[in-house]
């Protein structure tokens, strides 16, 4: 009898819990542009180019926002620092503007990255809400540390895919 009671209550509990609606958001809501670092080595004798992943000791980035009052770019308070050694960085793009400008410090050298992009809404669910996803149009850089950049995936979303290749 005890055994039957146990089975009955176990099944009832399983049925009740399986019918409950999960109200937790279990999806990744972080949207950022992923930049991977590469080093290009040219072999002049063989006339070939070899690309290898570049690992940096220290990388940090700070956003520059256009201030309408002063008509100047001003620093965002928060500095984004990345763990040692860094082979890539994730830069969040501006959700309500089509220009995102970053000052990126590669070890001790500073370069400015300007990303021109479009923004659109991406609805996930009632529990998770809505995201802003971006489509990169153009990337402009200064060339103190950076040699060149290449857009590999234009869409910036929550999939953590590589968007830009940065060559030194």
């Amino acid at each position: 009898m005890k055994k039957i009671n146990f089975i009955f209550w176990s099944i009832s509990f399983l049925l009740c819990t399986s019918c409950m609606v999960d109200e937790q958001c279990r999806q990744n809501r972080f949207v950022a542009m992923k930049i991977d670092f590469f080093h290009v080595v040219a072999n002049k004798t063989k006339d070939t180019i070899k690309t290898t992943t570049l690992s940096l000791d220290s990388v940090s980035a700070r956003g520059l926002k256009f201030d309408n009052q002063s008509s100047k770019f001003i620093y965002i308070d928060s500095v984004l620092s990345y763990k040692f050694p860094s082979t890539n960085v994730d830069l969040p793009l501006n959700k309500f503007s089509t220009i995102s400008k970053y000052e990126v410090k590669f070890n001790t050298t500073i370069d400015t990255l300007t990303i021109l992009h479009t923004n659109s809404d991406y609805y996930l669910s009632l529990e998770c809400g809505c995201l802003k996803v971006h489509s990169i149009d153009t990337v402009l850089t200064t060339n103190h540390f950076i040699d060149s950049v290449k857009i590999t995936t234009h869409t910036v979303n929550n999939t953590n895919a590589e968007n830009i290749r940065l060559y030194k």
Binding site: K65, I76, L80, P92, S125, G129, K132
Partner: protein, 245 residues
């Protein structure tokens, strides 16, 4: 040549004999005297009414159905209902909908009555339904905040319309509690056929299906009344034939 002729003729003779024996052994199938139409049951779902009261207005559903008894074996069914939801999520996003839904399907009685026995009024049914709902919905107070660059915006998505189609696998029992009054329950596995487009504002709740999660379980407890509308073939009497002549 003679040998070949003897061989072929003996083979034909053998085949003919076997066919004749086989034809003798074939039993003629017994004529099924069960009438095709055996009544129409109008039923109301009590479980959906009870669950609507328990959900504090978050979702509600009311449904009724009509089921035809064909040969005490096949039960084509049409179900019609009205359902809705008013849900606010943990992050204060509000979803509202209400609309009609319909289901069309057939149940099969798995209890086969024994030979020369009155057909049972207690049924063990298994069946399938195809459900559809075309409904309006709106999603409001969707807030997007930019934690790094700053700023926040609130979005509303009013007057959106969706059409959803799904199928259900149904199993249950139905018993005659008093004359022509039936009670029964069914358990349903609901599976969505319509796909949502990724990134678009999809409905949280679909009338008749429940929460829009791809697949759902459903439970119905029905009370029904069977309308006996016998379909008898009218046979003319000799007097009627003479009168006509």
């Amino acid at each position: 040549m003679q040998k070949t002729f003897a061989y072929i003729s003996s083979l034909i003779l053998c085949t003919l004999t076997l066919t004749a024996v086989a034809q003798k052994n074939i039993k003629t199938p017994e004529k099924d005297n069960t009438p095709l139409f055996n009544g129409l049951t109008i039923q109301l779902d009590v479980a959906s009414v009870a669950s609507s009261f328990l959900s504090n207005g978050e979702s509600y559903s009311y449904e009724a159905g009509a089921q035809v008894d064909l040969k005490h074996k096949y039960y084509p069914v049409f179900e019609l209902g009205y359902a809705g939801a008013n849900k606010t999520s943990n992050n204060d996003i509000n979803f509202k909908t209400n609309g009609l839904f319909g289901r069309l399907g057939v149940d099969i009685n798995l209890i086969n009555p024994k030979k020369d026995q009155k057909p049972t009024t207690n049924l063990f049914l298994a069946g399938i339904r195809l459900g559809m709902s075309n409904f309006p919905y709106n999603v409001s107070n969707v807030i997007i905040t930019d934690n790094y660059w700053g700023g926040s915006e609130t979005f509303n998505y009013p007057a959106k319309i969706s059409t959803k189609v799904w199928y259900e696998i149904v199993a249950g029992v139905r018993v005659e509690v008093t004359k022509n009054i039936y009670m029964g329950w069914t358990i349903r596995s609901k599976n969505m056929l319509s796909q949502d487009i990724a990134g678009e504002v999809a409905p949280w709740y679909v009338p008749g299906f429940g929460t829009n999660t791809g697949n759902n379980w459903g439970f119905n407890y029905t009370i029904g009344y069977k309308l006996q509308i016998p379909m008898k073939v009218k046979t003319r009497t000799n007097k009627e034939i003479k009168k006509k002549k």
